[in-house]
Subunit: 497 residues, 2 copies
Amino acid sequence: MSSMLSVELDRNSEEPIYKQLIRQIKMQIESGNLSAGTRLPASRELAKDINVSRISVVNAYAELRAEGYLSAHAGRGTFVSRDGQSVGSVTNGAVAQSSTSRAMHDYSIRDMMKLARRSDIINFSHGSPPPEFFPMQHLQSAINTVLERDGASAMLYERPEGYGPLRSGVRDYVSALGIMCSVDNVLITGGAQQAIDLVLQALVSENETIVTSAPTYIGILDVARARRLQVHSIPMDEDGIRLDCLEYYLMENSPRLIYVMPTFHNPTGKVMPLHRRRQLLNLAHEYDVPVLEDAVYHEFRFEGEPLPPLKALDTTDSVIHVGAFTKMLLPGMRIGYIITSNSQFDRLVRVKQAADISTSGFNQRVIHMMMQRGVIAQQLERNNRELKRRRDTAIEAAKRYFPEGCKWEVPQGGMYLWVTLPKSGPTAAELFITAVQKHVSFAIGNVFYVNGQGSRNIRVNYGLQHPDRIEEGFRYLGDAWRELTEKYNEIENSPLL
Amino acid sequence: MSSMLSVELDRNSEEPIYKQLIRQIKMQIESGNLSAGTRLPASRELAKDINVSRISVVNAYAELRAEGYLSAHAGRGTFVSRDGQSVGSVTNGAVAQSSTSRAMHDYSIRDMMKLARRSDIINFSHGSPPPEFFPMQHLQSAINTVLERDGASAMLYERPEGYGPLRSGVRDYVSALGIMCSVDNVLITGGAQQAIDLVLQALVSENETIVTSAPTYIGILDVARARRLQVHSIPMDEDGIRLDCLEYYLMENSPRLIYVMPTFHNPTGKVMPLHRRRQLLNLAHEYDVPVLEDAVYHEFRFEGEPLPPLKALDTTDSVIHVGAFTKMLLPGMRIGYIITSNSQFDRLVRVKQAADISTSGFNQRVIHMMMQRGVIAQQLERNNRELKRRRDTAIEAAKRYFPEGCKWEVPQGGMYLWVTLPKSGPTAAELFITAVQKHVSFAIGNVFYVNGQGSRNIRVNYGLQHPDRIEEGFRYLGDAWRELTEKYNEIENSPLL
């Protein structure tokens, strides 16, 4: 075993071996005995050296990685993290950890973000596509055709499962993404948000737990709060939700559902690589937990190779797939869909009927007409071309105006830039106040977490603004940051302190 | 005390006095000692005679009324019911009673009712207004104006609480009904069904209990089932939900909400008189239980004097009011609303946001435009004139074609005729099968109850059909009844039996 790590186990203790291991390794990191960058022995090697089962070591390492004490580098081994703490620790002094909590939220921050509704603001905070993308001529024409063709019957109650031709259209649409299903597996919903809400309602009872990434889509946290569900959040790395932490959690817990957004994750823009998609499905199957795949940004790719949605890889009916014609076409029509297996379908239809009887049959017909006319394919091509231009402008402007020490990954699709602010200086919430005074807004990182993390993160929806406004807005953001930092320095250097 | 009633109490028993009273009175009715029509002593008189508290007698009488053993006639006293049993008893041998049950449903009956979707059927089963009522020209014109005026911004995400001008419009609209509120008390929803669902979600947790009438709107039972709520149902008399039974229940239980449809109740068409409205509000206030008022048929009055909605009489913020532009205007646009006090509003908005972010801002704008142009007022006048004509046709046809022994009350508004079938002969479900073969359908009574009652009731939506089709359909219904009855008689008289 490594010369640096010393482990003394009490085999008569009631404390499980893996927990003793966690405790002892933590102590040695915190005491400085194991310094940042130290390589730990491979799990097989350590298990043999101290005569314990390998699973105990695997568990202990996974937990310590989840808590930010260790990091793993494929092919190179497991190392002590630089400072024994992870990103979250900068903010609140506690180590970041995968943690279960009743979905509580900082409403004051969300209330604060309502300031961004002011019309004189360069709005990077809202998760909306830009209205100039909307195909208004096609919409008007589709409406006229539907009203002419169907007359009053377009205004009757629709069946809860949806308008038949649209269900067929969705089946064909997702088959182009590799998802093979029957029209009987398609349920039309009021956008992706209702789709998520219905799935959670059908599968999860109050006080039961769902798992998602940290950070995650704000809408899943909204549902959990409204429906009194527990949320367990799992850290992400550059490839999305960390499966080591997830598996570690699944070993001892039985959550009811795993929510993921594998492609152009909101808020981080990350894409889960193919091998991790497959591993996630294996885990879901092995531990018998359904996966809710949110694919609303799936087709928003303007760079790199497309990857199949989880549902296209799903051979064991582990995945419920959610998509929508909101972000990619017309948010205001509120049309989304669920693709799911037969076993869940009837329950979902009953829940849908209780929720609102049916989604507007008129809106369903109009979206179906636009789909039939090829508007969606045209839209995606045009939108992605323009989104790429805006992404490029945003990256250039960020390099130019954002303070030194800011970090971000360059997204290959979607609408979001996820920025980590420098460790010193204002938090995202502090920056927001000054930014709004300068007529620019963004989403404060905290709202994407359940437990107070993210205070050094901001989400910028570059897709919502024209390139010249992106340039201008990013400049104001940089100005806001520098102004605040100077103010703080003045206070710190004040002779009165 | 009455010469007929003899009571022997055991004051040392663990059984409460009021339960002993119930048991003894039941026994005397069942044994024939107290015959139908016997007048029981007033509660004050009996309490004095047998030296017990008056509340014990009041409770015992209330329970016995709820179970159908007794009936009360205002100003005249309490009487033994004709047969010691109430309507429900005819069906299943058990006495009808107010009862709490997890909202279970006979899915097979609802599945059966899907047969009525066939296009060659005279459909009296669906709860829809007739498409020939829909103001399609006004709709097309409102759509064009909205798209011209607002362009792409009509297609953005709307605020969860709703489109501002529509909220103001609803405030003005309900003020004409006597409901005084601020625009901040108006939440726009996806029809009345979503309104009900959101209120229940905001106020009731899993396994908690809501109270409603028996029978009741099928949609409230759908929500209870989807959300795993308990439903306690209270019998109705000719004036709606029975407040004696309700108070008796509230004395010992703490339900989270009382759901009522005071005007043109679905399925019975009953209207709650003013004095009972006031008494219901007093009860709600006294026992501190909110009342959810479903007013979707409120303006469907074609006869008699209008009554104020509960919310207009509500001085203690006990009532949450739900209405919609579905039945009275365009079901397919899916626009409804909730009027509620400030204390519940924020919670409702959060639940709404989790449910679907917002109701289509486009659909809200279109409804608002039609409202502004006076289309709703025109519609109501025209619809009610035509509904009256259809009601008259239905009553005449029912007298002519329905079998002897059928009973109904003549509705003064709404779309429904609630028919009680004769005690001998086929049940509603049996009749349904034969009726569908004759190309006519209705709603089977059982679906409006939680516990198997209603098997001798049918709900006929006369509003959905042209007068000549009503005549034709009722004739088929009568034929179906006679055919079934003859078949049964043949079997009974068969020498093989």
